[in-house]
């Protein structure tokens, strides 16, 4: 591992000042970053530890939502009674991710900023446009069975690995950011990018910008919600496909619905077409299937992952059907 300077920030101002140094990177729980440093994928000159900043609380907002500090650990967020009762799919998404040990360390901000687990990205001997821009995409013609079916580019077919971010995307969450020029908000849905010509840029964050909180607005559909994760083993594994969905019903019809998919794109994929197709229609398996079809019409499978389209379709339908029970 390349030697680095370590700085522990006690407040946001100090963190931003330290992050202005050449080659500086923020350190959260380190569960992904330290691993990538060991692999030689990340080579920061300075680590700015932000885990002791005062962003470790989960608070009710005046609007009736929750403001989650960026330093809140994944296990604490999953255990929060408000999350479990009012945004259960978020609790389930968090609990479906990683292991008990890792969730105890991983932070809310860090979870959002974790990197893809594409094996070529993690292998410094392989061409990868995300790690070494312009070097090529090894997955495009290589092993890509578990890569993207939506929104990919010729430059990159990787998927975003977070479960938590899928639920946050479904539930209209906002990210609160601070930078050297002040603060701003960004929808979680708009935080991550599609790869396009710049797959090295995972998110819209500016250099040195820091996530300080994630805000969940109150949302009726979130109260009846679930996270379904399809994977190759029952636990401690990334998704092949995942679905976060919330449903509010009125007289057997869909009053409000939220759907986001994981494991299918370079970012958590909000299923707007499926949601639009469901507004006001009877909450039946046939409606859900038609909505899934409307979303997946835009899917473009790679050579070896057309099966993911059917898997995503079935996962959407089954998740929604179970929410009607």
């Amino acid at each position: 591992m390349r030697p680095f300077r370590y700085e522990r920030a006690e407040d946001a101002g100090a963190a931003l000042a330290a992050a202005a140094a050449e080659g500086a990177t923020f350190l959260g729980g380190g569960t992904n970053l330290v691993d990538l440093m060991r692999l030689g994928v990340e080579t920061p000159a300075v680590l700015v530890d932000v885990t002791r900043l005062p962003f470790r609380e989960i608070e009710e907002t005046e609007a009736g939502g929750l403001r989650i500090g960026a330093g809140v650990r994944n296990s604490d967020l999953a255990a929060d009674p408000r999350v479990r009762s009012r945004w259960p799919a978020l609790g389930e998404a968090l609990l479906s991710g990683a292991s008990g040990q890792l969730r105890n360390r991983a932070t809310t901000g860090g979870n959002l900023l974790q990197r893809t687990r594409c094996p070529y990205f993690q292998d410094v001997t392989a061409p990868c446009n995300k790690r070494a821009p312009g070097s090529g995409c090894s997955a495009r013609a290589g092993e890509h069975a578990n890569h993207a079916i939506l929104g990919w580019s010729e430059r990159c077919v990787a998927t975003h690995p977070s479960d938590m971010a899928v639920a946050l995307t479904a539930f209209d969450a906002l990210v609160h950011l601070v930078g050297r020029d002040g603060g701003r908000e960004c929808p979680v849905e708009g935080l991550h990018r599609l790869p396009g010509d710049e797959p090295q840029r995972d998110t819209v964050l500016e250099r040195g910008e820091l996530i300080v909180a994630v805000e969940l607005p109150p949302l009726a559909a979130a109260e009846r919600s679930a996270y379904r994760k399809v994977r190759e083993r029952a636990s401690f594994e990334f998704a092949l496909v995942s679905v976060a969905a919330g449903l509010e019903l009125e007289d057997g019809c869909v009053r409000q619905v939220r759907i986001a998919l994981g494991g299918v794109a370079h970012k958590p994929w909000r299923a707007h077409a499926a949601e639009a197709a469901l507004h006001g229609v009877p909450a039946t398996a046939a409606s859900f299937r038609a909505a899934a079809d409307a979303e997946l019409e835009q899917a473009r499978p790679l050579r070896d992952n057309a099966w993911k389209i059917e898997l995503a379709r079935n996962a959407i339908v089954r998740t929604l059907v179970e929410l009607t029970r």
Binding site: R2, F4, Y6, V34, D35, A98, G100, L102
Partner: protein, 165 residues
């Protein structure tokens, strides 16, 4: 390569304070094993995937391999050497191991897991995450999935934990 960066930190390990000057790159796992001679915590994968290095960090289970020592100044660490818990006897009684390499991590993880259960934390095995959890074999398997046993002693590991829970 730039020169190594050295920092002084203090850790409490198994109740004893240690002040050391460390390279910023050293993990808690390497520090425990190479600097303090506490070789109970094992290095399996060094990527947070196997759980053999599991310790209790400020009372919570964590992978020591992914924890930079420098980021844990003033933290309280308990390793298998500092544990005295009925799970240790239960693992022996239930023959919950073959080669034993994963065992320190399994036991530290199970101790942490039982603490999480006491706090009422849910798991992905729950039908309803809003309801207080009840431990059964399925819950134990889900909650212990961060600890791999390549000998496949899982049935007896689950039995040992069930016995103590």
């Amino acid at each position: 390569m730039p020169a190594p960066e050295l920092v002084e930190i203090t850790l409490r390990v198994n109740g004893e304070a240690h002040t050391l000057v460390v390279d910023t790159r050293i993990s808690l796992l390497d520090l425990l094993r190479e600097r303090l001679g506490l070789t109970g915590s094992k290095k399996g994968c060094d990527h947070g995937q196997c759980g053999a290095c599991t310790i209790l960090l400020d009372g919570r289970r964590a992978n020591a391999c992914l924890a930079l020592a420098v980021a844990h100044d003033d933290c309280e660490i308990v390793t298998i050497e500092g544990l005295e818990h009925p799970l240790q006897d239960a693992f022996v009684e239930h023959d919950a191991l073959q080669c034993g390499y994963c065992t320190p991590g399994q036991i530290c993880s199970a101790v942490g897991m039982l603490g999480e259960l006491e706090l009422g934390w849910p798991s992905y095995a729950a039908e309803d995450v809003a309801v207080a959890p009840r431990l059964d074999a399925g819950e134990i398997r889900e909650r212990m999935s961060g600890n791999i046993c390549r000998c496949g002693a899982y049935p007896n590991i689950v039995a040992a934990i069930e016995d103590v829970a």
